[in-house]
Each structure stands twice: as C-alpha cells, then as structure tokens.
C-alpha cells in the first residue's frame, strides 16, 4: 500500500514504478484501491469527481470507436491499416477490422476487433463502421476519369470537375 501511494506521488524510480504498475494490472483489488486513493485525492483538492462507473463507460465507448481506414504514406515499414469486410451474407454480416504491425516479412499477431456484427437482420446490407479521411489529391486522376460518366455531371455541368484538382497536400494540413 505504501508503494501504491508512492507511485501516486511519482516517488518511485522507473524500475519500481514498472513493477508496481504490473501488480496493479494483475490484481483487481489493488486497482480498486488505486481508484479510491485518487477519488480521495480529488475530493481533498476540491476537484470535480467523475461520475460512477466512469472507467467502464470509457472503456466501452473506446471499444465502440470506429476504425480509421486511411490512405497511408509508406516510405518504409510502418503501421499498416488493413480492413477486411465480409459483407457477403444476406442474413448476418460482420465487419472486422484489425491493425497489424508489420515488421519486414514477419507480421505479429493481429489484434482483432469486431466493429459491427448485427445478428439476424434481414435483407439489408450492413453499414461498415469505417472512417474515411479527406483525399490528399493522389487519386485525382481517378476522380477525373470517373466524372464524365456520371449522370450528375450531366446536370451540374463542369463545376464538379473542381473535385479532381484537389490540392496535392497531405490530409493532416486540412
């Protein structure tokens, strides 16, 4: 318990802190104690208390967050985002996305996560929970090649062609 309070006050060295955190991770009762200490500390400092079961709800919300499927700049081996959609069945459709850490030819075990798996809904194709990022302009020639075949271009005229000259800059600057 002493160590726990020392950890809270950042008084442990790296090694001790790591082993204390590992213990915390293994023992639910120690974790509860850790939470209680923080609540006491917050109350003494007069800070706002988080509502009950905040941890659980946060963890739940995190698990529900959509998976980001974004175009990647890949100069070398980096984190690659893959997604696999199994949208074939009419009755039950599951969308599974995972992030795999690629290190050369060796791929570590993927961390799988089910984003959406509606059970027994009929006929409707499922909506995959995937987040899309702004195009950075590398696919402009495809937009250009598509535009002329679309009936909406026939109504709108040449204005939609503005889409195919998206500035060539990375998405993050937008």
């Amino acid at each position: 318990m002493e160590k726990l309070s020392a950890l809270m006050d950042s008084e442990l060295d790296d090694h001790e802190a790591r082993s204390e955190l590992a213990r915390l991770n293994e023992r639910p009762e120690t974790r509860r104690l850790w939470a209680t200490y923080h609540v006491i500390g917050d109350a003494m400092r007069g800070e706002h208390l988080l509502s009950g079961r905040f941890n659980e709800r946060l963890a739940h919300r995190l698990a529900q967050e959509p998976t980001v499927l974004a175009p990647q700049r890949r100069p070398a081996k980096k984190l690659i985002t893959y997604a696999l959609s199994a949208a074939a069945s009419l009755s039950a459709v599951a969308m599974v996305a995972w992030v795999a850490l690629s290190t050369g030819s060796v791929t570590t075990a993927p961390q799988a996560r089910v984003a959406e798996a509606p059970a027994l809904t009929q006929a409707k194709p499922a909506r995959p929970q995937v987040v899309s990022l702004p195009s950075d302009g590398r696919l402009n020639e495809y937009i250009l090649a598509h535009q002329g075949f679309s009936p909406s271009t026939a109504i709108q005229g040449v204005t939609p062609y503005i889409r195919s000259v998206a500035a060539q800059r990375p998405a993050k600057t937008r």
Partner: protein, 331 residues
C-alpha cells in the same frame, strides 16, 4: 451559406402533411432535363463556391458554346494553390502549376455520349422521390428548388435550385444518410449570355506548360474506343445500381491497361478501376473528396479503386463484391 433544407422539409411535413407528402415526379423530371440542357447549352460565366465537409473554395467559371455546337469551359480556383480545368468538347485538361503537372482526360463521345439524363429518368424514379420545393434566390436570380430524396440509404439526396427561366442549376447540395450536407456548389455571381471567344476559355498555363515542359499525365479510353469485356464482374451490386458501361483505358499517363466499369442508379455513378498491382502496393483504404467516396483494395493481384458520389457503404459493397468472371464461373 446555410443548409436549411432539412428544416424546411420537416416544417412542411408537420404543418400540412397532405401537401408535403405529395411529390411531383413529372414536373420534377422536366426540371432535371431542363437543368441538364441549360448547363450544357447555355453561355454563362461567374463565380461559384464549392463546400465540402468544412472546407470551402471559390472558383471562377466560363462556359461557352460556339457556332458549330462545340462546348468549351474553364474553371479557375481563386483560393489556395492555383489550378485550372479546361474542357473543350471531349477533352478535359487540368493544369496544376505548383507541381508543374497537366492531367488530360480524353474520350470519344461518338461511342460514349455524356450520360444523358432523359434516358435514365426511369431509374431516377425507382430510386428517388422527386419533389418540387419552394422558390429561393441564388446569386441574385430567382430559382426553383427541386429535391431528390433517396428511397433508401444506398444513395445521397440532392437539392437543386434551378434558375426560373433558363433552368441553369445555381446551387446543388448533396445530403448523406443522416441528412447532413456533404457537399455544396453555389454561384455567388453569375451572368447568363455572352458570346463565345477562344480567349475566354483558354488556360493561362497553356503556353507555359508547353514551353516549360510540364509533366503530362494523359488518360484515355483504349484505341478500340468502344464497349469492352474486361473479364471482371460485381456479383452483389447495391440495389438500384445497374452497369452503365465497361471500357478499357489508360490512366494517369501510366502504361498498362486499366479496366473501368461504371454503375449508376440514374443519378449517381460509381466507377470501378482494375489494374495490375503497382510497385508500391496500395493499403486498403477509404477516403473522400466532397460527395465522392474512394475505396482502394487488392483482389487477385490487382489494385482496385472504386469511387463515386455515393455513401461509403455503397462504394465499398461494389468494391468488395468484385470478382474475375472466371473465378465466379468455377463456383
């Protein structure tokens, strides 16, 4: 600029349901035809704002038809890096001065006439409810609101405002499945009329790009220039989408053949591009530009790029159900 449409529609449907429930398919479709012909046959020039998911940019536009019926247009962005798009009949050229690049898209309208609306009006009726809205005013012109409300969530809704006399669409907004605006075009200044002169539709980079030898990425349909059997098929296309055409082409100046298959529900279109895997393998990814969603993946050692002005789920469904015809036959 505000997106007031959902509010207006809601207001109407609660206030006087009998009126709001009524749609005017015939009149609505006439307006669509009128818009398509005005947009392609009139002379006009002005300034428009393009808004997409929090960004907006302003461009100038000039559109002229010459005595022989040739169609010429020029778009020039007024904010951010300078860019120009020039159309002369079947050729669309994009000038990108900051990367010294010219993109050229060439097609042959003898075999592939512009996706003319009247032929696809039946599909529009199957997939959208056409409504005549209120009168509005855009860029100083009175305009008529025409709404296309999707019958399911596989497509986006549209709200046009067409100039009362000519039918020229002055504002076009696209709404997603949750009725949130994803894209909007609107004129802020416009003059209808005027006469054709080559100067008005010539790029100011035309000479410079030649003399400075900018990189030219030429894309065109293949020499045979006619419908083609690419050997690929989509076996689970979203309801209401039909195959419009299938061609073989080049893209982005790269050597090698690229198959393009286009699906449409009468209003929106989704293109599938199939080509050999490039040296840098593509990651499976989803991105967007305004109402256009773009989905990239690999199938049987080919790179697949699927894009169109449709919800991401629709674009992905088409991409995920793409197969080689031979593979499909074995099953």
């Amino acid at each position: 600029m505000k997106f007031v449409w959902p509010v207006v529609v809601l207001g109407l449907s609660t206030a006087c349901p009998s009126f709001a429930a009524e749609s005017y398919p015939k009149e609505g479709l006439d307006w669509l035809k009128k818009m398509a012909s005005a947009t392609n046959q009139l002379n006009y020039s002005g300034t428009f704002v393009y808004q997409q998911r929090g960004n907006s940019e302003t461009s100038s536009i000039a559109h002229y038809v010459n005595a022989a019926g040739g169609v010429f247009a020029k778009l020039e962005t007024l904010d951010g890096p300078a860019r120009e798009v020039v159309r002369s009949n079947d050729q669309v050229t994009c000038y990108l001065p900051n990367t010294k690049t010219v993109l050229i898209e060439q097609r042959n309208s003898r075999y592939f006439p512009p996706a003319v609306l009247p032929e696809r009006l039946d599909s529009i009726m199957d997939n959208y409810t056409v409504r005549i809205g209120e009168n509005d005013r855009v860029a100083g012109y009175e305009c008529q609101v025409i709404e296309l409300v999707p019958k399911d969530n596989l497509r986006y809704g549209r709200r046009f405002c067409a100039e009362k006399d000519s039918g020229l669409p002055l504002a076009v907004r696209t709404f997603d499945e949750r009725d949130e605006p994803v894209e909007a075009f609107a004129y802020t200044q416009l003059s209808i009329g005027g006469s054709f002169s080559r100067e008005k539709v010539r790029s100011k980079y035309a000479e410079k790009s030649r003399s400075q030898k900018w990189r030219i990425d030429r894309s065109a349909l293949s020499i045979n220039d006619r419908p083609f059997e690419t050997g690929w098929m989509v076996d689970n296309q979203p309801a209401g989408f039909k195959k419009l055409m299938e061609v073989q082409r080049s893209i982005g100046g790269r050597p090698g053949h690229v198959a393009q298959i286009v699906f449409s529900d009468g209003l929106a279109a989704v293109s599938v591009f199939v080509e050999p895997i490039p040296r840098e393998r593509p990651a499976q990814a989803l991105s967007h530009r305004g109402a256009v969603n773009i989905y990239t993946r690999e199938v049987a050692d080919h790179m697949i790029t699927v894009l169109g002005e449709a919800p991401a789920a629709t674009v992905m469904q088409i991409g995920d159900s793409l197969k080689r015809k031979t593979d499909a036959a074995i099953r």
